[in-house]
Amino acid sequence: MSERGAAAGDERVRRLLMRGLDGELPAEEREELERLLSLDVSVRAEWDRLVRLKEVTDTMKLQQPSDEVWKDYWGSVYVRLERGIGWILLSVGAIVLVSYGLWMGAQELIADTEMPLYLKAAILATTVGVVVLLVSVVREKLFLGSRERYKDVER
């Protein structure tokens, strides 16, 4: 386009071309477009190219899915909604159970006087690591995802 002349690069001309192409041009501006097309060779060439492109896109439409897709659509959304609630309940239940198990385990570990200290430290490190990872994943799923969902939608 850059080599096709200065006039065709003008913002107003671009908008005239678009509205003319899409049939959204009022009568008075259509005359202006026609005058421009007859006077400027570069704009004419750009117009012709865009018209050819429009002829191609006009023959295309989005693929239609089978009717089954629409029949099952709401059912699939509903299942997702239910599963979401299921995951939340499962996560909360698992957190409570795991926390209780860890608390009991820690008490036994502290009470065990025969186990070497380094082994206790290793068990403690492994347990804390697993808990940190678990909490991180759950936090990401439940809180971060919902909080960031719309805030940086680009317009």
Binding site: E24, V56, K61, S76, V77, R80, Y150, V153
Partner: protein, 194 residues
């Protein structure tokens, strides 16, 4: 457009949104049924994949339901839903680019009406049209997401400039500028067949 659908279905989106906000899943189901096609086709135009379009449009409804408390019932439902759909689609596209997944592997997402008519009578022309469709799909996939979005809304969803501007929350002039750039880029890529 929302008003047309409301008139057609009897109950307005406003009422359905209020009911959905109160936890009425049937009302939300009515909203899903009302807008599933638009959401699906919007996602199809943005992703170029049936599977992704189905998955992301359904996911958008799930997220809309979870976030329903934040929706103002006095504002139209679909533009709000569309923001969720486009965000999901753009995220997927960015993820795809980072993983360098190629669109050539995807199934066709455009349907060539002229090619369908030619298929029975002229196989050679049909093959030519099929190639053109494939090249157009690839060319659209190469467009930046904002240009692609405006092009799809205009060419394949048939929205007017004003409707696109309202949906995207941008001035009409920006719609025309993006559309021009998209078409110019498409014409460059398809140069030898135009």
């Amino acid at each position: 457009m929302e008003r047309d659908l409301a008139a057609e279905h009897g109950v307005s989106d406003h009422v359905l949104v209020l009911k959905a906000q109160a936890g009425d899943r049937e009302a939300f189901g009515e909203l899903v049924t009302r807008y599933m096609r638009r959401a699906y086709y919007a996602a199809l135009g943005l992703t170029g994949s049936h599977d992704d379009a189905l998955d992301l449009s359904q996911e958008a409804f799930v997220r809309a339901y979870r976030a329903r408390a934040s929706l103002d019932p006095d504002r139209p439902f679909y533009p709000w839903l569309y923001q969720i759909v486009r965000r999901l689609c753009f995220n997927l596209q960015r993820d795809r680019r980072t993983r360098r997944r190629r669109m050539e592997e995807a199934t066709p997402w455009l349907q060539d009406q002229a090619g369908a008519r030619a298929a029975a009578s002229d196989p050679a022309r049909s093959a030519e049209r099929s190639e053109l469709r494939g090249r157009l799909e690839l060319a659209i996939d190469k467009l930046p997401e904002r240009e692609r979005e405006v092009l799809v809304l205009k060419e394949f969803e048939g929205l007017r400039y004003r409707e696109i501007a309202e949906l995207l929350g941008i001035p009409i002039g920006t719609v025309m500028s993006r559309l021009y750039t998209a078409r110019r880029n498409l014409a460059e890529i398809l140069g030898d067949v135009l």
